[in-house]
């Protein structure tokens, strides 16, 4: 139990999340972290996997739901399951591979064997158990609700949570935009992943994913590098009076946040023309233009990121062409995995370029952000300085608008995304309040 929930009741959480600031303890307190793993990661939909990672019958992946080790499987009939990777006998993980195909999993400790649906099918030397031992009582623990939205597999431990579609809410049409960039929505998440670990709280990554204020500063090295050959190209617009430009940030509800860079572009081929240069850019562009003529601009745009940041609370960030997953490791340690994606229905060269365009931000952009996250975590250790501000745009007349669905829109540098998602955080953290 969190000290805040038990000692102070619901008013204490409200003291920590104010309308324009959050308390440092949300980033440094181990008890709050433990409560988040139970309440935030235990009571809303958590992204688990993409179906293309287990497209074959009997495919599996291991991962985490909060800190809980889990096993996501597709059974012989094609149904998806999410199971606790924890033997019901003496707790050892039953599967230690990252991915593969298996009809069953035998615990390496004492040999209990489970089908990929979770059922216990075998116990060595069963004569050693009494007549009241029933195998059906000892199947692997299950994530009770698992649903897929167009390939994105989510699970929740909360039987009472709304449907996945309802949870996605205003994020759903934006996710559709991202999926529908691929012909027939054929997105493939098996092109390797950048797994980046930083010494900071998981929310620093979520805060940043909807932050249009930082690029002109945190990404100066990338912008300078891109200008080496004369043109800064991608993201330069964040440095040019961004609040007066066409970009915007939104709070979508249910914790989801969004940055739209698409209004910087008009014509087919604009994404491509504005893309930072990549290995093989000119040779493969020439090849695609020679072979595909009038269709080349559309194809080349598909080699470039989606120009949106769509952040689905609490652990899924759809940025560029990557599917990023936030995995909290400890209160001050996080793994951010950037799964690269390929798409079907395009010439091979488009996917080759797509690989190269998904390499430069993890190499030259994200490390500077993560250095800033780590230095923020260091700064958060000052007990006398209690607050993290999220007040940009707050209380400024005529700066935000709220539509009929409750979606809040403002200039791209506003911190309305944080003000919004911390309300959802608060709702989940209060679930154990009396």
């Amino acid at each position: 139990m969190s000290a805040f929930a038990t000692n102070g009741s619901r008013r204490r959480w409200e003291d920590l999340v104010r309308v324009d600031r959050v308390h440092r303890s949300l980033y440094v307190d181990e008890e709050i972290f433990a409560a988040e793993m139970r309440l935030v990661f235990g009571h809303t939909w958590i992204y688990l996997a993409h179906e293309s990672q287990l497209s074959e019958p009997n495919g599996f992946l291991t991962g985490h739901l909060g800190r809980r080790p889990i096993l996501v499987t597709r059974d012989g009939e094609g149904r998806l399951h999410a199971l606790f990777n924890r033997c019901t006998h003496r707790a050892a993980t039953v599967c230690r591979e990252e991915s593969g195909r298996a009809r069953s999993f035998q615990c390496p400790y004492h040999g209990w064997t489970f089908r990929n649906t979770g059922e216990l099918v075998g116990v060595p030397w069963p004569d050693g158990y009494g007549p009241d031992f029933r195998r059906e009582d000892f199947g692997l623990g299950r994530v009770p609700r698992v649903e897929s939205y167009r390939g994105f597999v989510f699970g929740t431990l909360d039987e009472a949570a709304p449907s996945l579609t309802e949870h996605l809410g205003a994020a759903r049409p934006l996710l559709d935009y991202w999926i529908d960039r691929a012909p027939d929505g054929d997105v493939r998440v098996r092109s390797a992943a950048h797994r980046m670990v930083y010494r900071g709280n998981w929310k620093l990554a979520y805060d940043n994913a909807g932050d249009g204020y930082h690029p002109a500063f945190s990404h100066r090295s990338l912008l300078k590098m891109a200008a080496r050959l004369g043109e800064t190209r991608d993201m330069a617009y964040f440095g040019r009076s961004p609040d007066q430009g066409p970009m915007y940030v939104q709070y979508l509800g249910n914790g989801h946040t969004f940055i739209d860079q698409r209004p910087n572009y008009a014509a087919a081929g604009d994404f491509w023309r504005n893309q930072r240069v990549q290995p093989g850019r000119e040779g493969l562009e020439r090849l695609i233009r020679d072979r595909h003529g009038a269709d080349a601009d559309r194809l080349l745009d598909l080699a470039v990121g989606s120009q949106i940041n769509l952040n689905i609370f609490p652990n899924l960030l759809i940025i560029g062409n990557q599917v990023q997953v936030i995995e909290p490791l400890a209160v001050d340690r996080t793994q951010l995995t950037w799964h690269a994606t390929a798409i079907g229905g395009v010439p091979d060269e488009v996917n080759v370029l797509r690989m190269r365009t998904q390499e430069d931000f993890p190499a030259f952009g994200e490390p500077d952000d993560q250095a800033n996250f780590e230095e923020a975590q260091r700064g958060l250790s000052v007990p006398e300085m209690e607050w993290v501000l999220m007040n940009r745009g707050h209380g400024v007349p005529d700066r935000q608008k709220v539509d009929a669905d409750g979606v809040v829109t403002g200039p791209v540098t506003d911190e309305l995304h944080m003000r919004g998602y911390f309300q959802e955080w608060l709702r989940l953290m209060r679930l154990e309040d009396p």
Partner: protein
């Protein structure tokens, strides 16, 4: 633009085409072949180049380091162990001459916050093997490395093996390919911004 300008591979990348990837796949597929034992002189000459490269990197003399590489070079740090398929998978680094020039430029911008303070490194290179292929005008080299890094109060170590392809140019041997194979390449890494 004239064709002559397009041949400056620090600015243009026409040459990283399907044939380039095919050639890379052929080389990357042969690193585990059995090689004859190299004679002492060949080994010493090869080691001298590896040691010079190591010293330039450990002393952060990146512009000089860049000059060890050919115009059509590749500095490749795969994520998938063994290399995988770079046409279908992303890498930690897949740097042609232009990207490698970018990388050095980026390190020297003074605003790459992940390199402020800068990584201090020392690397040990051992188990060097070399095969001389005069008909191809090249030498292939494989070696083990252990890099110790200190930055911002943290010590980290990186272990793996290098595959180098050297080609003879007028000025001497230069690096056509450096494939850096970390033993934990596909796992989580903190601030993976040092040059291997």
């Amino acid at each position: 633009m004239t064709q002559a300008e397009h041949t400056d591979t620090a600015a243009w990348s026409y040459h990283v085409d399907p044939a380039y990837y095919r050639e890379l796949a052929a080389i990357a597929g042969e690193w585990s072949d059995a090689w004859p034992v190299a004679d002492a002189e060949l080994l010493a000459e090869t080691q001298a180049l590896l040691h010079r490269e190591a010293r330039l990197l450990d002393e952060a003399r990146f512009n000089e380091w860049l000059e060890l590489y050919t115009p059509t070079c590749l500095y490749w740090v795969p994520i998938t162990p063994g290399g995988g398929d770079p046409e279908r998978e992303v890498s930690h680094a897949f740097d042609d001459r232009r990207r490698l020039t970018d990388r050095v430029y980026w390190l020297r911008t003074g605003v790459a916050f992940c390199q402020i303070p800068q990584s201090r490194t020392r690397r040990l290179i051992t188990n060097v093997e070399v095969i001389d292929e005069p008909a191809e005008n090249r030498r292939r080299v494989r070696s083990n490395f252990h890099i110790q890094e200190f930055r911002a109060g943290q010590h980290k170590s990186y272990v793996g093996w290098y595959g180098h392809v050297l080609v003879r140019e007028q000025q001497g041997w230069r690096i056509q390919l450096k494939q850096v194979n970390l033993i934990d390449s596909e796992h989580g890494h903190e601030n993976l911004t040092l040059v291997f």
